[in-house]
Symmetry: C2
Subunit: 188 residues, 2 copies
DNA sequence: AAATTATCGCACTGATCATTGCGTTAGTGG
DNA sequence: CCACTAACGCAATGATCAGTGCGATAATTT
């Protein structure tokens, strides 16, 4: 103990409590609205004492942020089909499948309402993945693309529909999105 | 009193209370996060007794929904510049200006978290306006366009950036959005 | 102007949330 | 195996929220 006074201890029990709490948040969010997501309610569902939640997370907003971060990072693998079109098609199809889950959507909506005003944990990893796909295309000798513009045309309509409109996003609609975006690249 | 037992009374006092409450909600949302938006807090800010809020709105979610509905309906006029491109350019610029306001954005984010899972009061009027623009173009003899697709390409990137990314939407970026969308119509 | 009643303020109560101090359990390193 | 301490459970407290009955105010009608 040369430097730090706080020594993290991620062994069995803490991890088990954390997993139970995360699962309880997901379940409660899927059942009822985000208004009733209080720390005592989560604790009762997870079989954990409320004091633990107050100490580890402090508030419902921070807990939601933690759940969303661990839920939306590292869940999708960046495909490598050999072409930009193939990579985008497969990746966006995976994103559509992910967003199509009502529980995932509920977590996203709740996170938007309680998270910080700029940036959201729901899409940070998506932007990284899109950047990786574009960088790979550039390494193959393809044209250098702007990540922001690609996100505008691919993630924009997808998340807009998921959050604001009741109609779900289908897989072939996502394919149309990709081909339209690629068409705009050829005709500036 | 032939039919109804409840008789609405929108005269002076009720309207004044309603306006004060709406203003208090907007102020509190602009200052702090949506977590602390409780009915007693709104009542204290508005100078109204909390009982009134419990009776008229019932919960913070319903109050938020009411505020958002009256805030996002009828605030923009549908332009009539003579051409589809001009109408879309001017209208989307107005939408950008509207979303650029931090207070408006805070109200949108809070409404997403507390509103019903399908559809949001923030965009319902936007869809109606976009439908009116497209219908007018069709009356002029132009091509019949799909409202959903137009919303995907215009409102999608705009609201996606506003909610998920910290970077603001500029006016000329909105112009790029419109011209790109119009370009995709000519090259299917 | 008088009667009617929707709406609001006030006081009060029960329920739930947020927080703290203390003892216990169980990972972690020697 | 033993000492150490991070992490948890428990009990108790103050604060705030949610809800109710009743009288007062003011908008609306006759």
């Amino acid at each position: 103990m040369a430097d730090s006074s706080t020594q993290v201890r991620p062994g069995g029990r803490s991890a088990k409590v954390r997993a139970a709490v995360h699962r309880a948040v997901a379940e409660l969010l899927a059942e009822e609205d985000a208004e009733t997501l209080t720390l005592p309610a989560v604790a009762a569902r997870a079989g954990v004492h409320p004091t633990t939640l107050y100490r580890r997370w402090g508030s419902a907003a921070q807990l939601l942020n933690d759940v969303a971060t661990s839920r939306f990072t590292g869940d999708l693998v960046v495909p490598d089909s050999g072409s930009l079109a193939g990579d985008l098609q497969r990746w966006l199809a995976d994103v559509v499948t992910d967003v199509a889950d009502p529980d995932t959507l509920a977590l996203m909506r709740a996170t938007i309402g309680s998270g910080p005003a700029g940036g959201c944990a729901c899409v940070e990893d998506r932007h990284r993945q899109l950047g990786a796909i574009i960088r790979r295309e550039q390494d193959r000798g393809g044209t250098a693309l702007d990540v922001e513009t690609a996100a505008d045309f691919l993630l924009g309509p997808l998340y807009y529909r998921a959050i604001f409109t009741p109609e779900p996003a289908s897989a072939d609609w996502a394919r149309t999105l990709v081909s339209t975006y690629l068409a705009t690249l050829r005709t500036p």
